[in-house]
Amino acid sequence: MSTSEFDSYRPPELATGRKKRRRGDRDGGPRNRGGRGWQNRGSDGGREMPMVEDVEFSSYYGRPIVKAPPWGHEISLYLFLGGLAGGSTLLGLGAQFTDRPGLRIATRLTAITATGIGGAALVADLGRPERFLNMLRTVKVTSPMSLGTWILSGFGMGAAVTAAIEVDRLTRQKVLPLGPLRRPLHAMETPAALESALFATPLAAYTAVLLGATAVPTWNSAGRHGLPYVFVSSAAVAAGGAAMALAPVRETGPARLLALAGAAGDLVAMWGMKKRMHPVEVEPMEAGEPGHKLHRSEKLLIAGAVGAAAVEVGARLLSKRLGASTKTRTVLRAVSAVSGVALAAASAYTRFGMLEAGIESTKDPRHVVEPQRDRLEQRRAKGITDDSITTGR
């Protein structure tokens, strides 16, 4: 029957005629329409077969509409480290005022390390890293990236001064070649700590606006529906967790409480945010690799919070009944360190997950088209018909 080897690519011939078949398709459900018709077109040999699928064209060949920014793991890392640095500085300032030297040293060194690595990651992710200083040639309130650069710079100054003072103290003023500058530097401690604390919370919060003020559907929707709350909570969790891991148990009471508050805030804000976002925009946060990361973050967060609560209870009991055994103290320190690391990891997973969910949401045009269609229809239903980009006239 076959006359050419290419005939095998034809779909099987149908008993019914082409016209009938198409009519039948239309009467079927909307999913059916156009889905299979193309395969049968021309199957009677009457005319050329189309080689391109006649899909339901709610998109252009399923190609992305919005482009993902060229942001990789460096930016995720920076989102995490920025929050960590900001939260740590707040803890450092409190530790200075409440005389907790262990907590103060740990948080200040954490802050400067996180700032340094985070800043380097930002520069590394630029297309032209040698031009990173161009960020500082202007201040633009409409650009969260510009505001963030200035926030990071302002924060970095204070964080660097306080960290230098801590290093100088730790090395008994013998290593840093400060000379006559040593006294003015140490006099700067409180002003510098206050200055960096002023920029600390903006540093933790602005990254949410940076992601939110984009056309990336999942980020934009998250930004409008509470991503800043998720990110500051996550920053509190990271800073509290890092301090719990690095500083002695009897000094990290505030870190534990901050981490617990952050964990509660993170869970509530994330839940509320997902509830208010369009379901199609939430999808990338639930499925695939980003979904795995966000779910892992949730588990780690709960585990870490339970650990932190246990350490807090233990520490309070210990301070009441003085003279507990060294073994109890060691166990408490270990639990504190492990849950601290879990909390910090939870924060990191949140940031990596959110960044990747946004990038994932640009890949399928459905995430762009469906929420936009829906909001357009909602406005039209309300009688607002003058603000559509598509006009009939």
């Binding site: 018709g37 193309w38 077109r41 189309p50 391109v52 064209f57 998109s59 252009y60 509409i65 919005v66 482009k67 993902a68 920014p69 060229p70 939260g87 707040l90 409190g94 005022f97 409440t98 297309g127 032209r128 890293p129 031009r131 161009n134 960020m135 040639r137 409409t142 650009s143 969260p144 990236m145 919370t201 903006p202 602005y206 606006v209 940076l210 939110g212 003020a213 984009t214 990336v216 934009n220 409008r224 509470g226 800043p228 990110f231 500051v232 505030p254 409480l257 901050l258 952050g262 088209v369 936009q372 269609r373 357009l376 003058d386 559509s388 980009i389 598509t390 006009t391 009939g392 006239r393």
Partner: protein, 364 residues
């Protein structure tokens, strides 16, 4: 200033103060696009944009370019549609028209039977030069009174072809979020990247609701002219910076037409003062509606939309998403005041939480 949108949205208003010229823009009439891709070629040639990818076939009709990007500033889309899709497009267009707009004149059946498509030119005499200007022009649209406007028979197949380009938005997301000031509003009210300033942070890529601007990264090489040179040696200009259509800024400065519009053989791409372009677009869509082609609609001619209207107006023959255009784009910085406010509240909350944490663990 040529548009009424100034002051409409203070945050998203970037750099509108110093317009010395009329706002320039395109009107891309996709109903007369023949998909020749001359615009793509002319754009690449004039702007010396490097090669995109490895010339692979995408398997989507005749479109192997894929979409706009760092190296592709004009992109011709090809969409094959059957009768059912055409009817749906016609229906959705009709709905658009009925949204508070004047409706199409109802058909009169007796007129439908006799009228011989009066808007088409009558058979020209044999000795008339068909290529002479005006020889094939349709008769004056003002004469349509009392004529039949019955939709023509729906063809059972059509190709949609559309040349996409940067929209040069009134409220440009890319321009708003650029942290270096590399993106700027020109004296022609277009949006252009200064490649010697851009440091490739990529924020603009995320800021564009149309997915136009892109960072010129890897794997892009010039077409090899010298076989002895390896690909890596070939020159990629402005590597690592953001790139997009400049509306041929260099040509505009010299009073020239952008390369794509200059080369378009069917005048599907029209260039001129933005006001004129919008007026032409309105006239053309009315013209098509008068012929019963209710699927025709304008994209970007409304200054009240989410981006304040766009500099490159389109006439489309189906829903925008069919062409890969967003159905309801919104400049992301429009949400900025609200987001900054909630970030401020969140930041204060964090300070409060830290303060309470220290108060809560006071040592007795």
């Amino acid at each position: 200033m040529t548009t009424s949108t100034f002051g409409h949205d203070t945050v998203a208003d970037g750099h509108w103060a110093h317009s010395a010229h009329q706002r320039k823009g395109f009107f891309t009439d996709t109903s007369i696009c023949i998909g020749c891709k001359a615009c793509e070629v002319a754009c690449k040639e004039w702007n010396r944009n490097p090669q995109d990818g490895t010339y692979e076939l995408l398997g989507s009709s005749y479109d192997n370019t894929g979409g706009l990007g760092a190296n592709t500033w004009r992109h011709v889309a090809f969409i094959e549609q059957d009768q059912e899709r055409i009817e749906r497009a016609r229906e959705s267009g009709r709905k658009l028209v009925s949204l508070g707009m004047p409706t199409i004149r109802p058909r009169t059946d007796e007129a439908a039977a006799v009228q011989p498509a009066p808007n088409l030119p009558s058979a020209p005499e044999m000795n008339v030069d068909l290529l002479a200007p005006g020889a094939l022009q349709p008769t004056d649209p003002e004469d349509f009174n009392g004529l039949d406007t019955t939709p023509p028979d729906t063809p059972d197949f059509r190709w949609l072809m559309s040349s996409d380009v940067c929209k040069h938005c009134t409220h440009a997301g890319c321009l708003d979020v650029c942290p270096t000031g590399a993106l700027f509003r020109t004296e022609f009210d277009t949006v252009v990247v200064q490649n010697d300033v851009c440091n490739g942070c990529g924020t603009c890529v995320a800021g564009c609701p149309f997915g136009v601007i892109e960072r010129r990264d890897d794997g892009t090489i010039n077409t090899p002219t010298d076989r002895d040179r390896s690909a890596s040696e070939m020159d990629v200009p402005d590597k690592g910076t953001a790139n997009k259509c400049t509306l041929c800024y260099d040509r505009l400065v010299d009073g020239q037409t952008p390369a794509c519009a200059q080369t378009c053989p069917t005048t599907s791409i029209k260039f001129g003062d933005h006001e004129d372009m919008v007026a032409q677009a309105h006239a053309r869509v009315e013209d098509l509606h008068a012929k019963g082609l209710t699927e025709a609609r304008l994209y970007g001619a409304n200054p009240n939309d989410g981006v304040g209207g766009i500099g490159s107006v389109f006439l489309l023959l189906d829903e925008p998403e069919v062409y890969g255009l967003p159905p309801d784009p919104r400049v992301p910085t429009k949400d900025l005041p609200q987001m900054l406010a909630s970030a401020g509240v969140a930041a204060l909350g964090m300070v409060a939480a830290a303060g309470l944490a220290f108060l809560g663990s006071r040592r007795s």
